[in-house]
Subunit: 401 residues, 2 copies
């Protein structure tokens, strides 16, 4: 492993343009002998792969299924075990909430408790999203702050919401205020350090107050909070690699992740074409573009093999438009696998191609899991990708004399 | 990674003979579809590869372009990030200067400064090497020492030279006395620790004195110094692996690097044949030979694809002579790639073959980047090579019972 400070000391600005295409949940598993990629017709990706260096990229490590946070951090060159992004922060990013370094976030559930404070339903009968919006608005009016700490409540889907605690010196080392099982007593948050004691008091005052406010709102007569977290202190991509990075993504979570590592998040449209057009428009102003395509992952999560194949073919069709912009380095890969067979993220490594004038092409014939595995990169860790992209953009100086 | 002390504890002396052939700047990039190795006719290397285990060796890490110092350290089994060799030391080694552990070295430039001490030309108009020789001799006469510290000045090419400061307790944690850009004031060296304060005084006294001596020698009326460094404390190969190593190399830098890790540097002739003859002559006295061929790198640096192809074919022709000596283990590889396409060292991994009676041959057909990549070693780190060579020479005992 190359020490981080060595890598940073080698980074140098050049005019070359790098594009990282992340196809969410790219990798799959065979159903009737073929994976989604093997089934899909992807002539443009195949042709690009034949002129590229290829491999399988392992998001976190052998056998580890990644969430979107760590898998993206790894692709962006960060050790995903050093920089953890808490559940509260991920939820907030997914809602498009801009977080500052001082904000404490938590993921919340509306829940049903009985007179003894025992949880009868952790999801309050999965109340509709609309009801959650109303409840959040009501809570927000009734509890605008706890002492000096501003409270900010954001409704999510069904029974879910996010709370932001905004104040001075808030800590995130708190235990979950949620036993995560029905039949247990609703818990308070416990401080996991001396420094977190004041924060626990604030959080618990909020929980008590919320229960009072919601008393008559059966089945949503309590709130549970978990995943207390703050934005981690992450050095930006500019600081680490001297690049000017921009992100093109339609989903709030990926836009938020990109912002966390210092990317400029560009406004873009809904379609793949719009996303590529956005890259084209801003091509002169940045030298690193992160381009995110979401549909494949959703199809995989739904267990819809055919829909995932179609989504891959859709992406293939826009590749020529991307290549016409003539980036110096193009990488196409995934953040993690989402095989339709598993209906979930999985640990399987993802196909990757890297195209530039300075590769020894592997001459593989198709952009699939099993073809890319034969490439020169073999199975390699996601954290190696950034140094590799920078090198091919001639953005890393020589180490030593 | 195998812990260093474990590896050392397993090392054991045997009669087997290991030969490591380092073809400088071996790896290349395709021009019109083929790399230098793919274009070259190398029947002997190809035949050897077909009976060997093969792979691509990565000098320092994914995407990192190595200087010759770290890339050789890695091949010799040293973590190149733990043992850094400074620029001054590398220059001194390149000039064939024997360094002791107490010598402080710096790389120097003759430069032009104006009356205000502002640098007008960092290279004094690239004065000819002959002029530099004269100036160095004059400076040497005028400044034989600073206090107790002996000064030793060695001319290099054009405006370049090396200064040795020889005395007690000299430190190398000094900032460069060189702003590295024209239009800035010539700087003094600054101590980067308390212990380095005395050394900084000596160095700066030399700089002031040199400017006085050179005052009338416009355009070479000042000296700039950078890369202050001492020989790092490196355990020798004998200590680490219980081998008796010898080096056969024609260029001073590689002879110096070999000496740094405890190799005996053998006198040899100018040609490849001479180098192999030197191995033959000394074959009984050592059990590890490092054999260095330089021409490929120079051709690559010149961007001369054809010359690199020819240099590779020349090496191929002497392989039978090497094999006739019957070493037990032969490795052929490079320290780094120098593709003619890039006219510079690059980050690309290098082909490697390891031949011994104890391999499962990969049966690849050619000794090229893309063929070796299909070998059993895949892409693997240079620091793994020494354990692998030792193992095939039966020079590593079993670990554990």
């Amino acid at each position: 492993m190359i020490p981080e400070h060595v890598l940073s000391s080698l980074a140098t600005e050049t005019d070359s343009k790098l594009v990282l295409v992340v196809i969410d949940g790219l990798g799959g598993l065979p159903i009737r002998g073929k994976t989604e990629l093997e089934r899909a017709k992807t002539p443009h990706l195949d042709r690009l792969a034949s002129k590229s260096m290829c491999g399988l990229v392992e998001p976190l490590g052998c056998g580890i299924t990644p969430g979107s946070g760590p898998s993206h951090l790894a692709l962006f060159g960060y050790d995903p075990f050093s920089y953890e992004i808490g559940r509260g922060v991920m939820e907030a990013l997914g809602m498009g909430i801009h977080l500052t370094r001082s904000d404490l976030t938590a993921r919340g559930n509306f829940a049903t408790i009985d007179r003894e404070g025992v949880i009868r339903d952790r999801r309050a009968g999965r109340i509709p999203s609309e009801k959650t919006r109303e409840l959040c608005q009501y809570l927000q009016e009734k509890i605008p702050q706890i002492g000096e700490v501003k409270i900010s409540i954001h409704p999510g889907k069904e029974h879910r919401f996010v709370v932001l605690f905004q104040g001075e010196a808030l800590k995130d080392d708190l235990s979950d205020a949620d036993p995560q099982k029905d039949g247990f007593k609703a818990k308070m948050a416990e401080p996991l350090s001396r420094e977190a004691e004041k924060t626990a008091e604030v959080v618990n005052a909020f929980l008590v107050r919320a229960r009072q406010v919601l008393e008559s709102f059966h089945p949503a007569n309590a709130v549970l909070l978990r995943g207390f977290s703050k934005v981690p202190e992450i050095p930006t991509l500019q600081q680490r690699f001297k690049i000017r990075p921009a992100a093109v993504a339609t989903y709030p979570m990926y836009r938020g992740l990109a912002r966390l590592v210092g990317m400029e998040v560009l406004e873009t449209g809904e379609t793949l074409k719009d996303e590529i057009e956005t890259v084209r428009e801003h091509f002169s102003r940045y030298d690193f573009f992160y381009l995110h395509f979401k549909k494949t992952d959703s199809a995989g999560e739904d267990g819809n093999f055919g829909a995932k194949v179609k989504a891959l073919e859709e992406i293939d069709r826009v590749m020529p438009a991307l290549l016409r912009i003539k980036p110096h380095v193009v990488v196409v890969t995934g953040d993690h696998s989402t095989p339709a067979l598993l209906k979930a993220h999985s640990w399987h490594p993802n196909p990757l191609l890297l195209h530039s004038a300075y590769v020894r092409p592997d001459r593989i014939r198709r952009f699939t899991e099993r073809d890319c595995q034969k490439g020169q990169l073999g199975t390699f860790p996601a954290t190696s990708l950034m140094p590799l992209m920078l090198a091919h953009g001639l953005k890393l100086k020589k180490f030593g004399a």
